[in-house]
């Protein structure tokens, strides 16, 4: 544990705080806050867990962006999963998805009606289930960012090799770089810099952010999940802002390389093609997702079971969309902590343990 403790050292934190204060004082004058967005559920939780907002200069606004895969999954996707379950298909999912409200109801609610919905910790569970019950159709809810794509595609790769023909994926994969490019160029948001996700970057590599972090772009820092990693990342960002440069600063080089994980990338390229996808609360971002290639149609639950994922209905009072974009804080939502709580979530940001609203509810009510 000494290894981890090194990244939580209070003495080092004091030194980094002082550096951040000093750099912040050198920022060019402005009548608005300096807006730094992180896009990773684990960063969201670490920022809240270690109360990092509390120790930053007032001028620095740290925004938790659309980094929680559950939070950005459209309600229509939940509706499609529910429809599959109601048809008698076994739906295998990570636990976070269970309580996410669809347009009308949730997977947890239809499970209590008797639908077959299995919670897993690894996509491998879906593969094992398909092997054990060859007569039963199994659909794995394949959501998430670049980090969760390789393990999901690995089960399809294995299923093809093993001749398993009762397993398919309901795909709602999202890509981080196109989302960052869209958020970074949205004038309403005024994002000054990004803390790029840690594990996603391990898959795609630091170079993946170059297209929009280059000259005239938005400064990017790749940072780890430990509190000192995050402070160091913030220091790196402020240094770029003070110097007026925009580049990709990889401070998580103990895990992230320039080119990423080639094996994982090959697996994704073999089965998936870029697609326009809808982000809950944000809308459709061109080429910001991946869908199953035509040639693997029988492993694509939408095609195999002839179902279309529509854009779902949201509770009109829910402000998750604005929270995800950093326009609103969870405190700005009238439902936060009253009608919307982790026990009875209205919006996805409260459902997922990595959601902004859940993190605020847990640590800073």
């Amino acid at each position: 544990m000494k290894y981890i403790d090194g990244f939580r050292n209070p003495g080092a934190a004091v030194a980094l705080r002082e550096d951040i204060q000093a750099l912040s004082a050198k920022l060019p004058p402005s009548d608005r806050t300096t807006n730094i967005m992180e896009i990773c559920g684990s960063h969201t939780m670490a920022v809240a867990r270690y109360a990092i907002r509390d120790i930053l200069p007032e001028r620095i606004k740290l925004i938790s962006g659309p980094g929680c895969p559950v939070c950005v999954t459209d309600a229509g996707y939940i509706d499609a999963a529910i429809e599959l379950a109601r048809r008698g298909i076994t739906v295998v999912t990570f636990g976070d998805m269970l309580n996410v409200p669809g347009s009308e109801t949730s997977l947890a609610a239809v499970r209590s009606e008797g639908c077959s919905i299995e919670v897993c910790y690894s996509p491998l569970h879906a593969l094992e289930l398909a092997k054990e019950t060859p007569e039963q159709e199994i659909v794995f809810l394949a959501i998430g960012f670049e980090t969760t794509m390789p393990p999901a595609m690995a089960i399809i790769d294995q299923a093809i090799r093993d001749g398993i023909d009762n397993l398919s994926l309901l795909v709602a994969f999202k890509l981080v770089p196109p989302a960052l490019a869209a958020l970074g160029s949205d004038p309403e948001l005024q994002i000054d810099a990004f803390i790029c996700p840690a594990h996603v970057s391990a898959i795609i590599g630091a170079n993946a952010y170059e297209p929009f972090a280059g000259a005239g772009g938005v400064p990017c820092v790749i940072a780890g999940f430990e509190p000192l990693d995050i402070l160091l990342g913030l220091k790196g960002i402020l240094a770029q802002l003070v110097d007026g440069v925009a580049k990709v600063d990889n401070q998580y080089s103990r895990v992230v390389s320039a080119k990423g994980n080639k094996k994982a990338q090959a697996l994704m390229e073999k089965y998936l093609d870029p697609a326009d996808v809808s982000w809950r609360g944000i809308g459709v971002i061109p080429q910001s997702g991946l869908a199953m290639k035509e040639e693997w149609i029988e492993y694509d639950a939408e095609k195999r079971h002839d179902i279309t994922v529509q854009i779902g209905k949201l509770n009109p009072a829910c402000r998750c969309g604005e929270v995800i974009k950093g326009i609103a804080s969870p405190f700005d939502c009238p439902m936060f902590g009253t009608t919307c709580t982790p026990g009875n979530p209205v919006g996805p940001c409260m459902v997922s343990s990595e959601g902004s609203c859940a993190a605020y509810y847990k640590y800073s009510r």
């Binding site: 934190a13 809240a48 270690y50 990092i52 509390d54």
Partner: protein, 336 residues
């Protein structure tokens, strides 16, 4: 293994086998005091102006875990409830619910630990009961203990007595019990992994008795951990509590498993730790007394009572401040 070495339904039937089981396993260990002659009820002498009376049931799974078994817990859980009420633990009842098929050797190991724990805690098993249920109707072995303690003079304990500036003391590393049980249940085998802290806290209470007038409140942070106890204390109070993450004692094995499982030690149970809120002036003497005792070697002053009503705040390692929440629902079922 023969049937004779396992619990049979007939062991609970009131006949010859029942009698044999009670004589060989219960009377042999606990039969010297009020239990002698197996009366229907125990007649026990008590001193002082009042008794404290408590009860607790134990369903921990697995029955044996690193650092102890359900027997230790069944004694310490009840003894500690008496101790934190400012009482000297004296008498214990012991009710066993056994599942048909339970290995007798396991039952013996549990009863041995009960005997050792009772002697160490200064309590006597005064009365008891044994039932056997059919296979599948309980999970090996459940225990209920009730306890009677004599109230110690000088204590007047209530969360309502908390005052701004009071100190918050904890007698040793937190959450070892919960993580030891969890690691055992999840087959997490690591070198120097967590060991249950199951132990009596009555000596820690007695060591502070000279400062009794300045002690506001005591609890043993069991289910829900330190986070729940702290929140309960200030729930309806006009004060709050702030603790320092850096001061909270966590043993290396527990730290490792908590990181592996992503569980916060603040939310996980201890079974042999004492949490005390006392006046500023009394704190150093109590800490010094505790630190000189084997069960208090890791004692720490972890924070103070604040005027922020109802709020329990953590100053993190990074120097920021955040709420300490109460875990939602049952985080870890069957850890005691």
């Amino acid at each position: 293994m023969t049937d004779r070495e396992r619990i049979l339904l007939a062991h609970g039937g009131g006949g010859q086998l029942s009698r044999e089981l009670i004589d060989r396993e219960i009377v042999s260990r606990f039969g010297a005091g009020p239990l002698e002659g197996l009366p229907d009820g125990a007649t026990v002498p008590v001193e002082g102006d009042a008794v404290v009376f408590t009860t607790d049931s134990f369903v921990v799974q697995p029955i044996e875990f690193p650092g102890g078994n359900i027997g230790d817990l069944a004694v310490h859980g009840t003894v500690n409830d008496l101790a934190v009420c400012g009482a000297k633990p004296r008498w214990l009842s012991l009710a066993l619910i056994l599942e048909e098929g339970l290995e007798l050797a396991l039952l013996r190991r549990v009863l041995d630990r009960i005997k050792i724990a009772a002697d160490d805690s200064g309590v006597v098993v005064a009365t008891g009961d044994t039932k056997v249920v059919a296979r599948g109707q309980c999970d090996g072995l459940f225990i209920n203990t009730s306890g009677i303690g004599e109230r110690l003079p000088g204590f007047d304990l209530s969360p309502a007595h908390l005052q701004e500036g009071d100190r918050v003391l904890v007698s040793g590393p937190i959450a070892d019990h919960g993580f030891a049980v969890l690691a055992s249940r999840e087959n997490i085998h690591i070198q120097n992994g967590p060991q249950s802290d199951s132990a009596p806290v009555h000596r820690l209470v007695q060591a502070a008795v000279e400062q009794a007038a300045d002690i506001r409140f005591m609890r043993d942070p069991t289910r829900g951990g330190l986070a729940s106890v702290l929140n309960e204390m200030v729930e309806s109070a006009k004060v709050g509590i702030q603790i320092q993450e850096e001061s909270i004692p966590v043993s290396p094995g527990t730290h490792a498993v908590s990181e592996l499982l992503g569980l916060d030690p603040l939310h996980v149970a201890s079974e042999g730790r004492l949490l005390m809120v006392c006046g500023t002036d009394a704190a150093p003497a109590i800490l010094e007394a505790w630190q000189a005792m084997p069960e208090g070697g890791g004692a720490k002053d972890i924070g103070a009572v604040t005027k922020e009503a109802g709020r329990v705040v953590l100053e993190t390692l990074m120097g920021g401040h955040r709420l300490i929440d109460v875990p939602r629902g049952e985080l870890l079922p069957r850890i005691c």
